[in-house]
């Protein structure tokens, strides 16, 4: 498909030799062998140089050494005159039809040739671009896949950390349990001893209070009625004496 397009485009559409330095048309061998000569040589940028649309430049180069610059033109003119005069080519109505048709064709090709060529090239380029895109996408996705695999392998390296963390947890739990048990034991023992001490203190206080009450009761009970009357009389006498003493002191 691609070589066929090249043939058409090179010969019919791009054949106007108004381009810069011409390239010698690369000789492309026919693919006569069953092996594919891949990669095929790159397509030439420009078609072979031609003069006046038809006559290849090689003819002019070939005739230049012998007949100079005007050689091929003389040859062409001579051939034309020979054919007309000897009536090898007879002028008939078809001649004028051919001339008119030729003029129209040349005008059409000159005017629309580059546009059609560009369009055809664009079609081709789109095809190639699509294929290239597919290829680029495939390469990018492969590269990304490789990256992802590498990342997954890196992730794998951290697997020991999980188990370390779990073992740490277990060890910490055991240690906490151990400490808590020791604390419990100590606290219990202390509680028992403190209970004993508190009990003792309570006993002593109760005894003390009881003793004090008993002594008070006995003392109050031992005071007999006569002693009470005697002490009251003595108190009155003392008060009287005290009163006269103060009255005397006041008047004096």
């Amino acid at each position: 498909m691609l070589p066929r397009l090249v043939f058409i485009s090179a010969n019919a559409l791009k054949g106007h030799g108004h381009f810069g330095a011409g390239l010698v048309q690369a000789s492309r061998s026919l693919h006569t062998t069953s092996q594919s000569l891949a990669p095929v040589p790159p397509l030439p940028e420009k078609g072979g140089k031609v003069r006046h649309g038809i006559v290849p430049e090689e003819l002019f180069q070939f005739l230049y050494p012998k007949s100079g610059v005007t050689g091929p033109y003389m040859l062409g003119t001579g051939l034309l005159v020979y054919m007309l005069s000897k009536e090898i080519y007879v002028i008939n109505p078809e001649t004028f039809a051919a001339a008119a048709t030729g003029a129209v064709i040349i005008y059409g090709v000159k005017k629309f040739g580059p546009g059609v060529a560009a369009f055809a090239d664009k079609l081709n380029e789109e095809k190639v671009a699509k294929a290239q895109e597919v290829k680029d996408l495939a390469m990018a996705s492969l590269a990304r896949a490789i990256e992802d695999e590498k990342k997954e392998q890196w992730r794998l390296e951290g697997r020991s950390m999980l188990f370390d963390a779990k073992r740490n947890n277990v060890a910490m739990l055991l240690e906490t349990e151990r400490r808590e048990r020791r604390h419990t034991v100590t606290n219990e023992v202390k509680k028992r001893l403190d209970h004993q001490v508190a009990l003792q203190n309570l006993h002593r206080r109760m005894e003390q209070e009881h003793m004090v009450n008993w002594v008070e009761e006995n003392v109050i009970g031992s005071i007999s009625p006569e002693q009470e009357k005697e002490s009251i009389a003595k108190c009155i006498a003392d008060l009287k004496a005290l009163a006269t003493a103060t009255r005397a002191k006041a008047t004096a």
């Binding site: 999980l162 188990f163 740490n168 034991v185 028992r192």
Partner: protein, 161 residues
């Protein structure tokens, strides 16, 4: 008792967290929360209980010999330690994980080799504008037109044009 205590291996939680894939993030957060709680609980319990002041109790407790008796029994007491039931299970699971990780790593390497081969094939391909149709069909076998199934142009189902 101190000899049996296994040394705590420092776990780098930051590095650990980096390697957790997105679909296991929840499990990782749960593990971290649990671990932090355990650490906090351990820190809150003091190392050893305050020692009992035996001399005070010897004077304070009236009953003769009670304090000495308690002291003796307390000193002779051996508190049973909790039994570690999980570490062996963890070790077995770690060994299993190791084995499966190695298997996965080899598979992964195979995949990487395959991807690399394909990448090389793509890189060494001739550029498209220098291929013939035959070359294109060799490089991408899916582009070959089945001339047996569709003998007439365009050699593919009309719907695929």
């Amino acid at each position: 008792m101190a000899g049996r205590r296994a040394a705590l291996k420092a776990v780098d939680w930051v590095a650990f967290s980096e390697r957790v894939p997105a679909n296991q993030r929840g499990a990782f957060n749960a593990l971290k929360a649990r671990s932090d709680a355990i650490v906090a609980r351990l820190a809150s319990v003091p190392e050893a209980p305050a020692p009992i002041d035996w001399s005070y109790y010897r004077h304070a407790v009236a009953r003769p010999g009670m304090a000495e008796d308690f002291e003796r029994k307390f000193g002779a007491l051996r508190i049973p330690e909790a039994v570690d039931t999980q570490t062996t299970a963890i070790d077995t699971r770690e060994a299993e994980a190791e084995a499966s990780a190695r298997a996965y790593a080899t598979e992964s390497e195979d995949r990487v080799a395959r991807y690399r081969a394909e990448l090389e094939k793509f890189r060494n391909m001739i550029p498209f504008d220098r291929m013939t149709i035959g070359d294109l069909n060799d490089a991408f076998p899916e582009t070959t037109l089945d001339k047996v199934k569709h003998p007439y142009w365009p050699h593919k189902a009309i719907a695929d044009l």
